[in-house]
């Protein structure tokens, strides 16, 4: 890892250290576990969004796709609304639906040539609409033991879904480093026009990246459902911006071509530590959002200082 990537991890360590000094409650093992558990869903969403950001595109579809996946899995696994009991298959269907929605935004991007900002915003609305249709006024509660177990059962002190998230990060990192899809996503962010000059058709890779991102959001929606024990239309509310924030804080550039899954995961931890730490040290709920915003800006500022150049382009 080069020097310019060192900023976010250092910021993470510093912030962690400051909270640990300020609050004895913060530095307990159980709280660290809690932070990791709390980071799980965001980490999965961020895995997906990182690939999109790496390409230089943006993705706001997480809330809609997560909502649709959450309701789908809740209605297909054992629940109080119908007699379905598909278990793992329900998860698979939800993730597939999510991937299909992601694919749709990718297709709209490459076929209609509409910027991803808009296609994903549109798909998010479509996802929420689908979710609302399926929701039909009655909360589906999940009674599937496997899904419930994910949130409750622990392995080495961490909830199962934290391990699932960890696996996602690992898979994401491997895909980024060792597959053509991952490296091309990275390359598209670096110089899309050059790929075309080298005879690479970028459109399929773009669609594939959005599809993969959709699948990650779908899984995240499933995880939220398992945590809450119920399928919520709002399962993904706010995850679009928090995931982008986490990725950017971790050093993934919005203009593409820099950073990656591991960077973003550092960002996820940073954001989660902040949220948790501010509660632990007892910052007033009125101020928490503001303080968090300030620290995020400060952290990014500190992280970019070593790479500041004259004539540097910051968008």
């Amino acid at each position: 890892m080069s020097l310019r990537d060192a900023g976010p991890p250092i910021a993470l360590v510093v912030i962690f250290g400051v909270f640990a000094v300020l609050s004895p409650d913060f530095r307990t093992v159980s709280n660290v576990q809690n932070v990791l558990d709390a980071a799980a869903v965001l980490a999965v969403v961020t895995c997906g969004i990182s690939f999109v950001l790496m390409m230089g595109s943006i993705d706001l579809s997480a809330p809609g796709i997560m909502g649709a996946a959450a309701i789908t899995v809740a209605l297909l696994a054992a629940n109080n609304r119908n007699d379905n009991d598909l278990g793992l298959l329900a998860v698979a269907v939800a993730v597939l639906l999510a991937a299909a929605l992601g694919c749709l935004s990718g297709l709209a991007l490459v076929v209609l040539k509409v910027p991803s900002f808009m296609t994903t915003l549109g798909i998010s609305a479509v996802g929420l609409g689908l979710a609302t249709l399926m929701f039909a006024g009655v909360q589906p509660n999940v009674s599937d033991p496997m899904l419930e177990g994910w949130a409750v059962e622990r392995f080495l002190g961490l909830a199962r879904l934290t391990w699932i998230a960890l696996a996602c990060v690992l898979v994401g990192a491997l895909v980024q480093r060792y597959t053509r899809l991952g490296r091309y996503a990275f390359a598209i962010g670096g110089a899309e026009e050059v790929l075309a000059l080298s005879g690479v058709r970028v459109a399929p890779y773009k669609v594939a990246v959005f599809t993969m991102a959709g699948a990650f959001y779908g899984l995240a929606g499933v995880l939220v459902t398992s945590q809450l024990g119920a399928g919520l239309v709002q399962a993904g509310r706010g995850y679009d911006f928090s995931a982008i924030t986490a990725a950017v804080v971790g050093g993934t550039l919005l203009t593409g071509g820099r950073g990656g899954i591991l960077h973003s995961t550092v960002g996820v931890l940073l954001v989660t530590v902040l949220t948790n730490g501010l509660v632990q040290v007892g910052v007033s709920p009125y101020w928490q959002g503001g303080v968090q915003g300030l620290i995020v800006v400060a952290a990014v500022a500190a992280a970019v200082i070593p790479q500041r150049r004259r004539n540097q382009v910051t968008k």
Partner: protein
């Protein structure tokens, strides 16, 4: 010696099928006929030079040959077979590959990935990268051209010249793709290379001839004649003829390119004109640099008088580009003082430099020199408000008149001043960038980083004449030349830099020019 291309085959015995043949190729762009019925034959195992002024249509023709430009008319034949090239991959399958005029590598990938990009072969199996294989494949290509760069280095950490080598290594992959002898197209590959690297490249080109055909474009006519077997000339989108390279002189080629007689010894001639009056009395230096220190250079002292052109020469990594940028406020400095006309120059930013009358032409035109989608007029008047405004208000008339005059003055080939600059040929783009500093007529110090990169010989003479005129008008110029010859020809004095320090100074008055060898001695 001019012959009609299609009418007369070069030899009496029935020639083998040409590797590539173009018949009556036509391509229109809004307002331009980029190609107007071009004919071209590339024989097997030959190096064909392609010459022509900026905007003559060379790049367009070559892009049509690799399927990037879809022609509006005409035919392309590959080894006696008529083809319709739909994409670059299509062309590669026919054994045609190209190194582009503007660099085209993905900056955030490794050199190895760039080299195999799009045809990874065994480097990728079922979508999964095999880094070791990939590195081996890349290494093989790099070995072919004798380059020693690390295949796993990120491309954006490489120097411009190394990146050019990567491009060449990349195009050579075409050998692996096709069983036929390939056709390899090099569009101005040497414009950014140092002489040593050019030698390496030429060795490669000659080696390629053993098993391939090469199309070679360069504005350095001596180079073209040196490496090529035959030279075809384009003018205004039409083929105007061809020459065997062996017994042709640059002047003859130049005459064919422009359709009339041109001056031969362009820099020396120009230098002689302007330099008479300046050797007389020693004047106070216009620019005084003392102890300038930055990240890549230390303790640089430099004096430039009004009306003087000072060349800085040095190998890659000598820090000369950064000194230039620092003087323009685009690179931070940690120590040192710069005085322009007796006043301390504010190095805090480019605006301050502009306001003080400093102008800068960056080497990387595409990303730093011009704003691609904006019009020629807007690019030309980007900096100098009073060139187009009365008070704070833009006067479109004033702007238009001024811009049109400069378009005319520098013979910039553009359909209209409102045309997006990215639609111009590379050379014409460069002229617009240069004109930016001249429109207001208030420039005192001009920093030129490879100002003639990619310019044709005519345009280059014009730029030289322009530099001379500016110098005669009192402008102090710092020149980072394209070649040692250019530096010697244009400069009144040459500063040699190596490892971030100014190590020597060589006077180069008209009539007392040093030889390249003198400079090389100082450089090493």
């Amino acid at each position: 010696m001019t012959t009609n291309l299609r009418a007369q085959p070069a030899s009496k015995v029935p020639a083998p099928v040409p590797a590539l043949e173009v018949r009556g190729l036509v391509k229109h762009y809004p307002g331009v006929k980029a190609l107007d019925g071009v004919d071209l034959v590339v024989r097997q195992h030959e190096v064909l030079g392609l010459a022509g002024e900026n905007g003559a249509g060379k790049s367009t023709l070559l892009k049509a040959l690799v399927g990037l430009v879809r022609p509006d008319g005409g035919e392309i034949w590959v080894r006696g077979e008529k083809v319709r090239l739909k994409s670059i991959m299509d062309a590669a399958d026919h054994g045609i590959g190209m190194v582009f005029q503007e660099q085209s590598l993905v900056p955030n990938l490794t050199a190895a990935e760039n080299i195999v990009l799009g045809s990874e072969g065994p480097g990728v199996r079922r979508g999964v990268y095999r880094w070791n294989t990939m590195r081996r494949l890349a290494q093989e290509q790099l070995d072919k051209i004798g380059s020693h760069i690390d295949p796993l280095a990120r491309t954006d950490t490489l120097s411009f010249a190394d990146r050019q080598m990567v491009e060449i290594a990349k195009v050579l992959r075409i050998e692996e793709r096709t069983s036929h002898p390939p056709v390899i197209i090099l569009d101005e590959p040497t414009s950014v290379l140092e002489s040593k690297e050019i030698e390496t490249l030429f060795t490669q080109v000659r080696r390629l001839r053993e098993f391939a055909s090469v199309v070679f474009v360069s504005h350095r006519l001596d180079e073209v004649l040196d490496v090529c077997d035959r030279v075809a000339v384009l003018r205004g989108g039409q083929s105007v003829g061809e020459l065997p390279a062996a017994d042709a002189a640059p002047a003859e080629l130049h005459r064919m390119m422009i359709g009339s007689t041109g001056s031969e010894d362009h820099y020396h001639g120009a230098a002689a004109e302007g330099s008479d009056e300046q050797s007389d009395e020693p004047r106070r230096p216009r620019l005084v640099v003392r102890g300038l220190t930055g990240k890549t250079f230390r303790d640089v002292d430099l004096d430039v008088h009004a009306g003087e052109i000072v060349g800085i020469v040095g190998v890659h990594g000598s820090g000369r580009e950064d000194v230039c940028r620092a003087l323009f406020g685009a690179e931070p400095t940690t120590a040192g003082e710069v005085v322009l006309d007796g006043e301390k120059l504010d190095l805090s930013g480019t605006r301050a430099a502009c306001a003080a009358g400093v102008g800068y032409v960056p080497a990387e035109r595409k990303t730093e020199g011009m704003v691609g989608p904006m019009s020629v007029a807007d690019n030309m008047t980007l900096t100098k408000q009073h060139a187009r405004c009365t008070g704070p208000v833009v006067r479109p008339r004033k702007q238009a008149t001024l811009v049109d005059r400069w378009i005319e003055r520098l013979s910039i080939r553009t359909p209209h001043r409102g045309t997006a600059i990215q639609r111009l040929s590379g050379g014409n783009q460069q002229k617009v960038v240069l004109a930016r500093w001249l429109v207001a007529g208030d420039v005192r110090l001009l920093l030129l980083d490879h100002p003639t990169r990619g310019l044709d010989i005519g345009a280059r003479s014009e730029v030289y004449r322009l530099m001379r005129e500016l110098a005669a008008g009192g402008v102090a110029t710092v020149l980072l030349a394209d070649s040692l010859e250019e530096a010697i020809g244009m400069s009144d004095r040459i500063v040699v830099m190596s490892d971030g320090r100014a190590t020597a100074e060589v006077a180069a008055p008209a009539g007392g020019k040093p030889t390249p060898l003198d400079l090389v001695k100082e450089m090493v």
